[in-house]
Amino acid sequence: MADSTGGAQSGGGRLRRRLLAERASSYWLRGAGYFAVALFVLIVLTLLYKSLPLLSEYSLVRAITSANWDPAQNEFGFMPAIVGTIYVTGLSMLMGTPIAILAAIYIAEYAEGRTQALVSSFIDVLAAIPSVIFGLVALVVVVPFVGDYLAPAVGANATGLGILTVSLVMAIVVTPFMISLSVESLEALPDELRESSLGVGATKWETIRSVLLRAAGPGIFSAILLGFGRVFGATIVPAMLIGGQTHVPDSVFATGQTLPTLIVNDFGELMSLPLTQSALIFVGLMLVVVVWLFNFGAMLVRRRLQRRWQF
């Protein structure tokens, strides 16, 4: 402003500078916008390209249905890891989902004031604890519990490392995430819904069940599906607790392998074998495709439910 060269000229220069900044920033920001899409495309293409060597030499059907995983002999059967992943994902969702929804109802509808703030910040903390710490704590808490008490109680023989242990821990890891998303969608509902339902004589639970859970249904449903994706792609906890043996598990106490742990356990030693490398990158591709299908599915279901359960 304090320019000695004259007001009009400096004003023009400043405007030019401002417009230049506007132009340059516009390019940069547009680039940043496209970056998100480009990153997505780049990841898929890279993984796909590197998976091709396996897929050209080894039939996809055989890879998925064969139970024989022996990279040294060029046998790449993903069946054990696929079954292990399904076991772990199914069990943890079975245990985690009801608790997550009930706890979300508590936070959104029952708790008030300080209690609510306290409980929800505890859940935020739980969500932020690194998963490697969950694994470590589970080694001294859950592993002995499953190995010394739970398995003998049902007459099974187990060391404590295995499918059930991983599922228990993953159920814990994934709940805070589902809780906060469900609470978000419950809290987004207008108070008139609650008031009018209570006003016609419904009890609190009837209001929650027939009105609130339905109105927040799309949000809760996509929270569950996204939680599904979380457990499915979990790496560190299964790698620490599943026992890492590549066979099709025959009970919930058995050790096993999940798709991500296959990568963790085998990458180090088998990097030098090109076909194995390709097989493990193909596992990465499978993870990506399934998780992304879940995401897109969650979005579609959410839209449909939103249309059906309007209030």
Binding site: R18, A111, S121, V132, L136
Partner: protein, 286 residues
């Protein structure tokens, strides 16, 4: 069962579920602090001692290398990621993009947000193999930055969205360009953005799957950007699998350090978000 008994039963159930989740959180933190704190307090120097050449076998030395590795990897990654995330969120929020395009980008961001971290690790490793490089600090930074980017964009987007619209109207009314208006909006949302960046940092510093294959699992001090390095979560993962009881006990000391850092970061971001709610022009008062 009449409807009031059912009502009481449900009330007990939801309280029980919430209590269970809180109890688990307390248990995890307590076990880490108790076991880790004990090891840490009896020998605090283990955190700042460089590792010996036989660290993984005989617990020779400490794990300064992983502490430094975490700082050198997650610090730069957070800076890179924050710049990109704030730019993307600004692009989505302001008047640069059409609503339709924002929606598409948001969809991709959600998908990236849900992508398992191991996939980012494999992706970066694939790039490393393709260009014939080897695992190093630099690629650890790349992997963590890619991992943090969707998380931070989400938080930043939310912060910008809840910034008062009057700021934008006022700036345009005074003849500001889009960029100047975006800067003022970002300034109004700054505490929220900073809190989001801190949360991204906290997530980045706790993640092991992305750095497992990209930074290497070095047991030496980080030697430079293109030398292998390791981070605390990877170290804990390796220590926990060790056959040596003393190395395993170091895992608890390391996780004690990690959990203190992460809890501190969350507290910081909560404080900032709280300040934001109170001081933002026209924002929520609580």
């Amino acid at each position: 069962m009449d409807r009031y008994a059912k009502q009481r039963l449900v009330g007990a159930l939801v309280r029980g579920a919430a209590a269970l989740v809180v109890a688990v959180m307390v248990l995890v933190v307590a076990v880490t602090v108790y076991r880790g704190g004990r090891v840490f307090l009896t020998n605090p120097s283990v955190v700042v001692t460089p590792p010996g050449s036989r660290y993984m076998l005989e617990a020779e030395g400490g794990f300064l290398h992983a502490v430094l590795g975490s700082i050198f990897i997650v610090g730069p990654a957070t800076v890179v990621s924050a710049v990109l995330a704030v730019s993307t969120a600004t692009y989505l929020q302001s008047d640069y993009s059409s609503e339709r395009f924002s929606e598409v980008v948001n969809m991709f961001l959600n998908v990236l947000w849900g992508t398992p971290p191991i996939v980012y690790g494999v992706f970066v490793l694939t790039v490393i193999i393709a260009i014939g490089a080897r695992t190093s600090l630099f690629f650890g930074i790349v992997a963590i930055a890619v991992f943090q980017y969707p998380i931070m964009t989400r938080y930043t987007d939310e912060a910008l969205r809840s910034a008062p619209g009057t700021v934008r109207e006022a700036t345009y009314g005074l003849g500001a360009t889009r960029f100047e208006s975006a800067i003022m909006t970002a300034r109004a949302a700054l505490p929220g953005i900073v809190a989001g960046v801190i949360m991204g940092f906290a997530r980045g510093i706790g993640d092991a799957a992305t750095v497992l294959f990209t930074a290497g699992r070095s047991t030496r001090m980080p030697g430079g950007p293109f030398e292998p390095a390791t981070t605390l979560p990877v170290l804990i993962f390796d220590q926990a699998m060790s056959f040596n009881a003393e190395v395993r006990s170091h895992a608890y000391a390391a996780s004690f350090v990690l959990i203190v850092v992460v809890l501190g970061l969350i507290l910081l971001s909560k404080l900032l978000a709280g300040r934001y709610a109170r001081f933002a022009p026209g924002g929520r008062h609580s």
